[in-house]
């Protein structure tokens, strides 16, 4: 019975999932950050109830900022890859910060409580913040989950160095040929310029 309940829950979560094109995301595309722009910091609530901003990370060289969520099948398909990125780059100065941009009223599976649950179940090693009021994702011009922004700390502020997908095979980690995010962070760590700075983020539209 427990398994039946669980499997029904999985079915419901999967089928309740929605993927929409909306005007907000379309409009925000034109205002979105471009490579070389200075990104704005934020103050958002983490799953541990504490408020997080990038200014808290005094020792960081930059950030792997990822807009992602619980419900999108592409986000789920990338969870292990996001954990691996944080494990690989946190100590090198580029920690992952994940932000759920979806409106939980539209997408109940992305509520703060279910974010806490998901992070616990998957053992997230990074902050998982809720974009309460949905002000942060439009500032960045994120349109999808998952959607990655790599920022580097410079004298003028946090400079946008890469925007797009984690790698070239969003739905299947076994068929990855090019690891966009790893290549970009490796280049930054080696003080080289990032070769591929923009890719198409593959995933679900952000729910408003």
């Amino acid at each position: 019975m427990k398994y039946l309940k669980l499997s029904l829950f999985v079915l419901i979560v999967v089928t309740a999932f929605a993927f929409t094109v909306n005007h907000t995301s379309k409009n925000s595309t034109s205002n979105s950050y471009k490579i070389g722009d200075i990104a704005k910091d934020f103050l958002l609530k983490n799953i541990d109830e504490k408020m997080v901003s990038m200014a808290d990370y005094k020792d960081a060289k930059g950030f792997i900022l990822i807009f992602t969520c619980n419900t999108c099948p592409y986000s789920v398909a990338n969870e292990d890859r996001i954990i691996a990125l944080d494990k690989k780059y946190k100590d090198k100065g580029y920690p992952v910060i994940a932000i759920n941009p979806n409106n939980p009223k539209t997408q109940p599976g992305d509520s703060f409580e279910l974010m806490q649950q998901r992070a616990k179940d998957k053992g997230f090693t990074f902050p998982y913040l809720l974009d309460e009021g949905q002000h942060v994702y439009p500032t960045y011009g994120a349109t999808k989950t998952p959607h990655v922004f790599i920022l580097q700390k410079e004298t003028e502020g946090l400079k946008v160095k890469y925007i797009g997908a984690i790698d070239d095979s969003s739905r299947n980690p076994a068929t990855v040929k090019v690891k966009y995010v790893e290549n970009a962070v490796d280049a930054l760590l080696a003080a080289k310029s990032v070769e591929i700075t923009e890719t198409r983020a593959i995933g679900c539209s952000i729910k408003t």
Binding site: Y3, L4, L6, S7, L8, V10, L11, V14, T15, A16, F17, A18, F19, T20, V21, P73, A77, T143, K144, A165, D168, S169, S170, R171, N172, T175, K177, T199, R200, A201, I202, G203, C204, S205
Partner: protein, 168 residues
């Protein structure tokens, strides 16, 4: 996890059994699995027909909401040489649990293709350079004309567009 899969399969087969019981005409869910190279010819002009290619997935709510419209267009305009093709972007591991039961439940009769090609950054711009990859999306084309729509359709709006391609 193994037990979960077995239960999911059991639910699926139970529901399809009962479906068959109710309706003896229900056929098996038929669809083909293509990578992008295999799909490409489907998206290219070949004859005098007007093609409507709808990109969808069972997990995409607005897609499911507009899917009956594409079924209706298929039913009503096949005789006018309008061909509807439904290209599913469901994940390959969801074929048994999601796609097959869905095709059976909705009794979809247009041609269904599952596009199983993980390298979206390569094929999305080849379908349309402006496409962000969001669903639903629809391609309409004839020998002479081609248009891509990253949006949902009402039946009226779809017929309006279709009239730009062919006499209905």
């Amino acid at each position: 996890m193994k037990r979960l899969i077995i239960i999911l399969l059991a639910i699926t087969s139970l529901s399809s059994c009962s479906k068959k019981g109710e309706n003896s005409n229900t056929t098996e869910a038929t669809f083909t699995i293509y990578n992008f190279e295999e799909l490409k010819p489907v998206l290219e002009p070949k004859d005098d027909a007007t093609y409507i290619v709808n990109f969808w997935a069972t997990w995409c709510k607005p897609c499911i909401e507009e899917l009956p419209i594409f079924q209706e267009i298929h039913d009503e305009y096949s005789s006018k040489n309008v061909k509807v093709i439904l290209v599913s972007l469901d994940f390959p591991e969801k074929i048994e649990t999601q796609l097959k039961p869905f095709i059976a439940e909705y009794e979809l009769t247009p041609r269904v293709i599952l596009l199983n090609d993980p390298h979206e950054n390569e094929w999305i711009p080849k379908i349309d350079p402006e496409w962000s990859g969001a669903l639903p999306a629809t391609l309409i084309y004839t020998k002479n004309k081609r248009a891509f729509y990253e949006q949902s359709f009402t039946k009226e709006a779809l017929l309006e567009e279709l009239k730009k391609f062919t006499k209905l």
